[in-house]
Every structure is written in structure tokens, then in C-alpha cells.
């Protein structure tokens, strides 16, 4: 029951993030470049709710975005799934207590997501490869995501530990004893 409510809360927060991304952040840009809130969101779910839920949320969010606004189906779904996987790996190896680690995780996963997505799009849509404009866009986007992480960190932590309690209660005990 508790899990179901948490999942509904996560879905609602995804919708809020979606409208934020579409309306607010398409206007509030750094040199015309938008952040990608969904990467932070999927990473956050995977870190606190576990790798399985992270991956499934990632794939569902990716499919949703591909169907709604994408040109081809699959690229973002795969890459958000990968972010879920990476989140699980980060959770096992790093502490979530520090703001800096979370920021570095966001920076890493933004880079992995966008590079992977771009490569998949090159294969799927046979687009023209532009390395320098891509790197410039990627750097600004990563910076923007990192700044947003600083702002969102307290909310992430508060909500995150609640989610962790509902999904990983037994695991925490086994981990420390």
C-alpha cells in the first residue's frame, strides 16, 4: 500500500517536472540551452528506491518522452534505463550524504545520457555529426543540471529517505549488520 502511494507520488512529480521542463525551462535557458530535469529525476529514483525501480521508471519515462515529442522511439528509453542502472551502481559504491557526490553523479549521468542518446540518434536517424557544437551544448547543459542539483538537493534528500524507507527497509539492516 505504502509502495503504491509512493509510486503514485513519483508519477505525479514526474508530470510536474514535465510541465516545468516544457514551459518554464524552455524559456529560462542559459544561452538558449535547457537543462534536463528527467536525468536528475531518474538518477534520484534509482539512488533512493533501488536499481530495479530506477530502471523501470527510466524506461517508462523514456518511452513516454519518445512517443510524445521524439522523432524515433527507443533512444531515450534505452538511455534512461542505463541511467537507472548507473544510479544503482552509484548507490552501492558512494554515499548520498554529501551534496558534492550527488552533484558529481548528476554531472556524470548527464554526460553519459546525452552522449549515448546522440550516438543512438546518429545511428537511428543518420544525422550529421557536429562535434564542437555538441560539446558546447553538453557542457552548458551539464553545468545547468549541476546548479539545479544544488537547489533541489534538500528536497531530494528529504523525499529520498522517505522513499528509501518504503522500498529498502530490510536491505538497510542487512547492509550494516
Amino acid at each position: 500500500m505504502k509502495k503504491a502511494i509512493t509510486i503514485i507520488v513519483l508519477i505525479i512529480s514526474f508530470l510536474i517536472l514535465y510541465f516545468l521542463q516544457v514551459n518554464f525551462f524552455s524559456w529560462f535557458t542559459i544561452a538558449g540551452i535547457k537543462p534536463n530535469l528527467f536525468i536528475i529525476f531518474v538518477l534520484f529514483i534509482s539512488l533512493f528506491a533501488g536499481m530495479k525501480i530506477g530502471i523501470s521508471f527510466g524506461i517508462l519515462i523514456g518511452l513516454f518522452l519518445d512517443i510524445i515529442i521524439g522523432k524515433s522511439i527507443g533512444a531515450s528509453a534505452i538511455m534512461f534505463g542505463v541511467i537507472g542502472l548507473i544510479g544503482g551502481y552509484f548507490d552501492k559504491n558512494f554515499s548520498k550524504e554529501s551534496r558534492l557526490t550527488i552533484m558529481l553523479m548528476v554531472i556524470g549521468s548527464t554526460c553519459i545520457f546525452e552522449i549515448g542518446n546522440y550516438l543512438l540518434q546518429i545511428i537511428q536517424l543518420s544525422i550529421y555529426i557536429e562535434i564542437l557544437p555538441f560539446i558546447r551544448t553538453l557542457l552548458i547543459e551539464t553545468l545547468y543540471n549541476a546548479i539545479l542539483t544544488i537547489i533541489l538537493y534538500p528536497i531530494m534528500q528529504k523525499l529520498g529517505y522517505k522513499i528509501e524507507d518504503t522500498f529498502k527497509e530490510q536491505k538497510i539492516l542487512t547492509r550494516y549488520f
Binding site: 516544457v22 535557458t29 538558449g32 534536463n36 522523432k71 542518446n117 546522440y118 557544437p133 544544488i150
Partner: protein
């Protein structure tokens, strides 16, 4: 603990302020800064003028240098005039070929009014930095179908890639996956325009014929090849021609007529 919380709150507020400043500064237009420039100029320039006058007065004889400066200036002006004349000569040649196709143009203009169009609002732009699709508020029940071209009052916007009952997804011409066959209005040279990752509504024109004469400011329109876009729809103007060592590799940047950042209403051509 309490102190830490307070400090972190202050940190967040500072971060928000910095973010707002970065966004404002990075999106500022250069013409918006002119009044600052003017203001600074008022403070600095009179003093600078006075200092220059003083310097000239002290050193006295400065006519030799002014003469050289004048000659250099004149030489520069003559060179500019020469290149201008050369360009106008080439343009005259182009006008000849343009004359031959004028009749066709008259027909085309009639054709343009013959297009049946449906107006639509852009309801969502792309969420990603690496693609430029958008969603409009008409769908199959308004008679919209896949591959229909989309234009605005300024020029070509893109074509429809998928459609639902009440919405349609448009792939714009500045999308990285978009390629259009286009033609220079005056010289009728066909080339391929691709979307780029740049955020300033520009296209990259490649496969320019080696014998083609291409100038900055030339108008570009669709060629009608490829089967999606009809012939003669305005795309934009040539902004820059980049000549490489090998003439087959040269490319041009096209500034689209449509400002995609401010695009709100479009027309879908249905026939």
C-alpha cells in the same frame, strides 16, 4: 546542526540568484547593451578627445601621418568599390538567367495562393537541446496527415512526422535529422540544407555545385525535389559562404526566414 541548516539555506538562495544572473546575462541581446555603451562613452570619450588633441599639439607636426592614413583609407575604399563592381557584374549575369525563369515565377505565385492551408498554434516545443520537433494543436480530425508541409507567414517551417486525433508532431527544418533540397532563387543552383545544433535558427548548405555563384544575401527556396516540400517555398537567405581548400567541400550558412524561437502560429498545407 542548526547553523548548518541555515548555512545551506543561504547557499541555496545564493545559487538561485547566481543562476538567474547567468540566465539573464547569457540571453542578453547586444543591442540591449548599447545604452550602457552610450553612457560609458559619455564619460570616457570627451576626456579621450582632449588627450588626443593635447598629444597632437605637443608633437606638432602630424600631417605626414594623416596623409598616409588618408591614402590608406582611399586605397581601402577603392578596393571595396572594385569588389562591389565585380559583384554587380556577376549579379547582372545572374539576372539574365533569372529573366528566363520569370514566367515560371508568375505561375508559382498563383500556385502559392492555391495551397489549401489550415492555421494551427504551436502548443509545445522540444524538451531536448539536440532536436527541434514541436507539437501543433490540429490533428487527423482537421484533415492533417503525415508528411504534409508546414509553413508560416515568413517561410518554411517543416513537415509533419506523426499525427494523433487532435495534435500533430512537426519536424522543423532546423532539426539535426532534417535535410531539404533547396535552390538559390537567382542562379537556380541546387544544394542540400541540413539542420544544425546551433541555437540561432540556421541551416548548413552543403553539396554546392562547383560552378555555382553564391553570395551572402542570396535568397533560398525549396527545389521541389524529394517529394515532401512543394517547389518555391521561401527558406531564408545565405548568411555566410565558407570556402575550403577543396571547392567541392565548401558550404554556406542559411539564416532561416522563420524565427523558430518566437514561432507561435503555423499553416499546414493540405493539398
Amino acid at each position: 546542526m542548526l547553523k548548518n541548516k541555515k548555512a545551506s539555506k543561504i547557499g541555496i538562495i545564493i545559487t538561485i540568484i547566481i543562476l538567474v544572473i547567468i540566465v539573464m546575462v547569457s540571453n542578453i541581446q547586444i543591442d540591449n547593451v548599447t545604452y550602457v555603451e552610450n553612457g560609458l562613452g559619455i564619460i570616457v570619450m570627451p576626456i579621450q578627445n582632449g588627450l588626443t588633441y593635447l598629444k597632437n599639439w605637443i608633437f606638432g607636426n602630424n600631417t605626414f601621418f594623416t596623409n598616409i592614413n588618408n591614402l590608406q583609407e582611399e586605397n581601402k575604399q577603392l578596393k571595396e568599390k572594385n569588389s562591389e563592381l565585380e559583384q554587380s557584374l556577376r549579379e547582372l549575369e545572374i539576372i539574365k538567367s533569372e529573366n528566363a525563369t520569370l514566367k515560371e515565377y508568375v505561375n508559382l505565385k498563383d500556385k502559392y495562393t492555391d495551397y489549401e492551408t489550415i492555421p494551427a498554434y504551436v502548443i509545445q516545443k522540444d524538451i531536448s537541446n539536440y532536436s527541434d520537433a514541436m507539437i501543433i494543436n490540429i490533428g487527423t480530425k482537421d484533415g492533417v496527415d503525415v508528411n504534409m508541409p508546414v509553413i508560416s507567414d515568413q517561410g518554411l517551417v517543416g513537415h509533419i512526422i506523426s499525427v494523433t486525433d487532435s495534435t500533430a508532431k512537426v519536424q522543423t527544418i532546423i532539426d539535426t535529422a532534417s535535410t531539404i533540397s533547396c535552390v538559390i532563387t537567382t542562379s537556380r543552383d541546387i544544394m542540400i540544407a541540413r539542420g544544425t545544433l546551433e541555437k540561432d535558427s540556421s541551416l548548413k548548405a552543403t553539396f554546392i555545385p562547383t560552378e555555382a555563384t553564391i553570395f551572402e544575401g542570396d535568397k533560398v527556396e525549396t527545389s521541389g525535389l524529394g517529394g515532401i516540400y512543394p517547389k518555391g517555398i521561401h527558406i531564408g537567405t545565405i548568411k555566410k559562404v565558407v570556402n575550403t581548400q577543396n571547392i567541392t567541400d565548401r558550404y554556406a550558412t542559411i539564416q532561416t526566414a522563420v524565427d523558430f524561437a518566437k514561432l507561435e502560429t503555423v499553416l499546414v498545407i493540405t493539398n
